[in-house]
Symmetry: C2
Subunit: 286 residues, 2 copies
C-alpha cells in the first residue's frame, strides 16, 4: 500500500484496528521504539511538534476556522487514561485542551438520550477535546452488566457511527484509542493503588467486579472495535502495559492526525504595514 510509505500515517497505519480485530500484545511495540530510553527521548521531542501543531489549530479556530480534534480514550481500569491525559495533553497549552471525564451516568443524565451528555462536551473550533471514557461505555457496561435488553445497546452501534460521521462532517477529527493492558498488569496496578495511601481514592470496590468480568469486557470491546472503526472515526489499539510506549504512541497518533489536517495560521484581516506604522505613531496616553 502506498499509504504505508507516508511518514505522516506510519503509527496510525500500524495501530489502526484491522478487519479481524487482531490486537497486538499489551506489552509489544508494533511500531516505534522497543526500549524505554529511546521512547522517552523521542517523546521529549514530540512535545515541541505537538505544541506547534496545536497552536496552529488554535490560531485557525481563532481566525474563524471550524475544525477541531476529539481524542476518545477507552480502556479497562488502570489502563492509563488519566496518565495519558497528564503526559500527552500536558505537552500543550491548557488553553487548547478541553477535557471531559464520563462517569456512571447520573439519574438526570439517564433521563436523556445517551449521546446528550456527550454532545455538551464537544470541543469548540480550534481545540483538542479529550474524552476520558465516552459514549462507548453506554454499550460496554449495559452489555456486560445486562442492564438493558440486548436490542437496546445493539442499536447504539449505528447511532454512534452516525454521530461520529456527523462530527467528521462538521470538522471534528475523531481519534479513538483503546488502551490495551493485560490482566497481569492490571493486577499489579490495582495492588499498587490499594497499597499507596495517596492512590487509594482512585480505587473503587466495583473495579473488582469489572475485573472478574474481564473476558466479557474484552469480547464487548472486540465487537465495539469491529463495528465502530469507520473511515470517519477509526479506532487505534495502543499496547499500554508499558507507560512509556503508551505515551509515545498516543502523542504520535495526535501528531500524525493534526499534521494531516495541516491547520493554517489565519491571514491577518488588516494591513500589517499600516498597523506597524500606526503602532510607531500612537502615543501612550488616555
Amino acid at each position: 500500500m502506498a499509504k504505508k510509505q507516508d511518514p505522516v500515517s506510519r503509527v496510525r497505519d500500524a495501530l489502526r484496528v484491522t478487519k479481524d480485530v487482531t490486537l497486538p500484545a499489551p506489552g509489544s511495540s508494533p511500531v516505534g521504539p522497543e526500549k524505554k530510553l529511546k521512547a522517552e527521548k523521542k517523546f521529549d521531542n514530540a512535545g515541541e511538534r505537538l505544541s506547534a501543531l496545536q497552536e496552529a489549530l488554535y490560531a485557525e479556530g481563532a481566525g474563524g476556522g471550524g475544525r477541531s480534534v476529539l481524542l476518545v480514550l477507552q480502556g479497562m481500569d488502570t489502563s492509563g487514561k488519566g496518565g495519558t491525559v497528564g503526559h500527552v495533553l500536558g505537552l500543550v497549552n491548557p488553553m487548547g485542551v478541553r477535557y471531559a471525564g464520563f462517569k456512571k451516568p447520573t439519574a438526570a443524565e439517564r433521563r436523556h438520550h445517551f449521546l446528550w451528555r456527550v454532545r455538551r462536551q464537544l470541543p469548540s473550533p480550534g481545540l483538542i477535546g479529550v474524552f476520558d471514557r465516552s459514549h462507548y461505555e453506554d454499550i460496554l457496561v449495559p452489555r456486560v452488566q445486562k442492564l438493558v435488553p440486548a436490542a437496546e445497546w445493539r442499536k447504539r452501534y449505528a447511532e454512534i457511527n452516525a454521530f461520529e460521521r456527523e462530527l467528521a462532517d462538521e470538522g471534528t477529527t475523531v481519534v479513538k484509542v483503546f488502551l490495551h493492558i493485560s490482566p497481569e498488569e492490571q493486577l499489579k496496578r490495582l495492588t499498587a493503588r490499594l497499597r499507596r495511601p495517596e492512590k487509594r481514592w482512585k480505587f473503587d470496590p466495583s473495579d473488582l467486579e469489572a475485573r472478574a468480568a474481564w473476558d466479557a469486557y474484552q469480547a464487548a470491546y472486540a465487537d465495539v472495535l469491529r463495528r465502530t472503526s469507520t473511515a470517519a472515526a477509526p479506532w487505534y489499539v495502543v499496547p499500554a502495559d508499558r507507560k512509556w510506549y503508551r505515551n509515545w504512541a498516543v502523542a504520535e497518533l495526535l501528531i500524525e492526525t493534526i499534521a494531516e489536517m495541516a491547520p493554517k495560521f489565519p491571514e491577518p484581516g488588516y494591513d500589517v504595514d499600516a498597523e506597524l506604522a500606526k503602532l510607531a505613531a500612537v502615543g501612550v496616553g488616555g
Copy 2:
C-alpha cells in the same frame, strides 16, 4: 507582622495589593529571584510541588470535597495571560484545569447580567479554574470606552465583591492576578506580533485603541485593585515585563494558596485489607 515570617505566604504578602495601590515596577523583583537563570531553576522545581498539590485537591474533590481554586488573570494586551496559562498551568495534569477565556460579550451574552457567563465557567470541586480576562472587563472597558453611564459600571464593584464573597463561602479560593507590564514592553511585544507571520492572528487593530488609552486603563485598574481587593478575594500585582519572573511568581502564588488550603487525599470508603484479599482471590473471567 507575624505573617511575614510564614513561608507559606511570602510571595502573596509581597505582591498583595496595598491600601494605596502602589504598584511595583513592571521589570522589578519585589520578592524572589532577580536573575533569569535562578528563576528558571526555581520554576523547574515548582512543577513538582504544584502538581502534588493539584493532585491532592483533585483527589479531595473526587472524594466529595467541595473546594476549588479560581485564578483570575487580568492585564493589558500582551501582558502574558496566555503564556502564563501555558507555562504555569501547563505544569499540572490538564484533567485538573478548567480554562475559560472571556472575549467581548456576544449579543446573546449582553442580554444577561454581566456575571451570567462568568458563573457558567466556574470550576467544579477539585479543579483549578483559570479565567483569561474576566468579569473585571465589565468595569474596565465600559468605563474607558464610555459605553454605559458611569453609575452602571460603578455599581459593579459591589456586585463583584458580593459574588466573590459568595465563591469563597462556597469553597472556591479566588486568586486574582494583575499582570503588570510597561508601555515600552508592550510596544516591543506588539511589534513582534505584527512582524512574525505566525503571531499575527493574536493582533487586532483595536489593540492600538486600547494602547492609546493606556493612562485611562491604568487609572481604571487602580480603582479596580483598590475597590475589589478584599480579604475573601485579594489582588496580587505581578511585574510582568520579564516572562521568567511572571511565570515564577504566578506559580508560587498558586503553590502558596493551595498549600494553605492543605487539601487532603480522601480516606477510602472501603476496607483496604479486605479489598487486597479479594483482589488476590478474584479470577479473571467473564
